[in-house]
């Protein structure tokens, strides 16, 4: 089952130290460092092009860092490909949902449970049904993923990531493109997942959604960390207000 782990609030699950990434001469991330503690929700803010998704890609193994180190618990992540990182306990969603369109919602979860979660197919049936219930997708279990609405596709992204039983869940702008009502539903769902003890790092532009759940915020700008801490303190930071909201203090 995902979550349900006993969390020591100061036990560090993810450590990033001096993480950098360049594409040729273009520096996308520069010396970024932060910790993610077990059971917390860390929100990541930043304008477009700040390097947020690149940071996720480095953690999930889709990209290799140009410098610095990332640790998951005691393990230093080196060159493990995404499928191995998933099995190590890193689950992720994508900014633009990537469902397996030719499969049903239930089968989408089966894939994650069997290959990411390491369960047998028979063991996965009940587990996936429960995740579908949790994510309010049970009624659409036999619907082709390609025909789901945007909200349901976002739920499916989340459900599929949960089906791989992650220790660390990376959410990439999961509330983007949703109405206020829809994002409220999604926030409630993410809160419930957090309450089960899943550690979450959440990139989001929908500030009220992030503020409702995040324990701490980290702000990136042009690939550099400009603020980190309590949400209210960070959001009131003059530099964050200038960079992110265009408000000169």
């Amino acid at each position: 089952m995902y979550g349900q782990q006993e969390n020591n609030p100061r036990e560090c699950l993810l450590q990033a130290r001096n993480v950098s990434k360049s594409f040729g001469a273009v520096r996308v991330l520069h010396d970024v460092g932060f910790d993610v503690y077990r059971g917390e929700v860390l929100g990541i803010l930043g304008p477009n092009g700040a390097g947020k998704t690149t940071l996720f890609n480095l953690i999930s193994g889709d990209l290799k860092p140009s410098g610095g180190e990332i640790r998951l618990g005691e393990v230093r992540l080196r060159g493990e490909p995404p499928h191995r990182r998933c099995r190590m306990g890193i689950g992720r969603t994508y900014q633009i949902p990537r469902p397996y369109s030719g499969m049903t919602t239930f089968e989408n979860l089966l894939v994650a449970s069997v290959f990411g979660g390491g369960r047998s197919e028979a063991e996965s049936y009940d587990f996936c049904a429960q995740v579908l219930r949790d994510c309010e997708l049970f009624e659409k279990a036999n619907t082709l993923a390609g025909s789901l609405t945007l909200l349901d596709r976002k739920r499916l992204e989340l459900a599929r990531a949960l089906a791989s039983s992650p220790q660390l869940l990376l959410l990439d702008e999961i509330a983007g493109g949703l109405t206020d009502e829809e994002s409220k539903d999604l926030v409630a769902l993410i809160s419930r997942i957090r309450d089960r003890g899943v550690t979450i790092v959440w990139i989001e532009h929908v500030l009220h959604a992030l503020m409702a759940v995040a324990d701490r915020l980290l702000v990136l700008n042009f690939g550099e960390k400009i603020a980190e801490g309590e949400p209210k303190t960070v959001i009131a930071d003059p530099e964050v207000m200038r960079v992110y909201m265009g408000i000169e203090a």
Partner: protein, 347 residues
């Protein structure tokens, strides 16, 4: 298992679920499949030699098309060079039987090791290429094989080889062998593909087809799965080549490495419906019938086949089976997992 939805859910246990894999249409198709296998393996007792040769040709097309379907329709590897493995295995049978004196019927399973071994370095060479570059690469590899065979004295270079050892067997014995091989080819290619697609690896394959990036982030080793499919497709094509050329009793480089093999496989899969086993069977029957009735028209017949493929690619990408299944949800080879809630009175 604890629910996180609502407190009410936590009190009331969720209803039991079950997963349905088989369908009525699937059971009927499975029964027919078994009948076809029995009919194929007993051909010498009810069919003439000419009919057996025709059926054998059809079986070879089905195998080649299904292998291409697995490659392009599931693994996203569009190859136009599968004739490399058809030719190599055909030659391997001739060399084993004619040059080394091994029983020709035993030579077929032994020869299947060759495409597997050849596919490994080919894949290592080609896997860095993407999309059209991969396709061109596979064609180049097949042409290299043809050129090597054309210049290799050991296999009688461009003149090719004959399978004279087959004279030691009576016509009936050959028919029995060909019939059993036909049944085996269909059992392994269609039955094997169905078993594979029904398994957990089938889930991975379809996920990889639909979105390789997401599949990788869900724990699927996309690179290894593609490699497995490439090698398996090489062996499958090799099987078809081995049986086809054994029946022909002759092999030479132009026929062994004929790009027509890939063209026919692509036609069959595109017309029938890519990414489905049903589509391959429908497409193969259409090609076979068209070839029998219109083959004599030569070039103009091929133009018609080409135009049909283009029209299907433009206006009906899911092929004939895709159009049928839009209106009639009755798969012959069901691989879907339907989640059903058990009714309380049944529990």
């Amino acid at each position: 298992m604890t629910s996180i939805s609502t407190s009410a859910d936590a009190v009331a246990a969720p209803p039991a679920i079950r997963v349905r894999r088989q369908t009525v249409s699937g059971v009927i198709a499975l029964s027919l499949f078994v009948l076809v296998i029995v009919a194929l393996s007993t051909m010498p007792w009810w069919a003439k030699t000419g009919t057996i040769r025709m059926v054998l040709e059809l079986c070879c097309y089905i195998v080649a098309a299904q292998m291409w379907n697995m490659l392009a329709g599931y693994a996203g590897l569009v190859s136009v060079g599968q004739q490399a493995f058809i030719g190599v295995t055909g030659y391997a049978v001739f060399v084993l039987a004619q040059t080394f004196g091994i029983n020709p019927f035993l030579a077929i399973p032994l020869a299947l090791v060759v495409p597997a071994l050849v596919a490994v370095p080919c894949y290592l060479l080609l896997h860095r290429l993407d999309g059209p570059y991969f396709a061109i690469g596979t064609w180049v590899v097949a042409e290299v094989f043809r050129l090597v065979a054309s210049n290799l004295g050991w296999v009688n270079a461009g003149a090719g080889m004959s399978l004279a050892v087959m004279r030691e067997y009576s016509g009936f014995e050959r028919n029995v062998a060909m019939s059993v091989l036909c049944a085996l080819m269909i059992l392994v290619s269609i039955g094997g593909s169905y078993l594979f697609l029904s398994s957990r690896y089938g889930l991975a394959l379809i996920a990889m087809r639909d979105n390789p990036v997401a599949a990788s982030s869900q724990g699927i080793n996309v690179g290894r799965l593609r490699f497995m499919i490439y090698v398996a497709a090489a062996v499958g094509c090799g099987f078809a080549g081995a049986v086809y050329f054994m029946a022909q009793l002759r092999i030479n480089p132009p026929s062994a490495f004929d790009p027509m093999w890939s063209n026919v496989a692509i036609f069959i899969v595109m017309i029938g419906g890519i990414g489905t086993i049903e589509g391959v069977l429908i497409g193969a029957l259409i090609y076979f019938v068209a070839d029998r009735f219109f083959g004599e028209y030569g070039a103009s017949y091929f133009v018609v086949l080409g135009v049909m493929t283009v029209l299907v690619a433009l206006y009906a990408r899911t092929g004939i089976w895709g159009m049928i299944s839009k209106y009639w949800d009755a798969p012959w080879f069901p691989i879907r997992r339907h989640l059903l809630v058990e009714r309380k009175d049944r529990a």
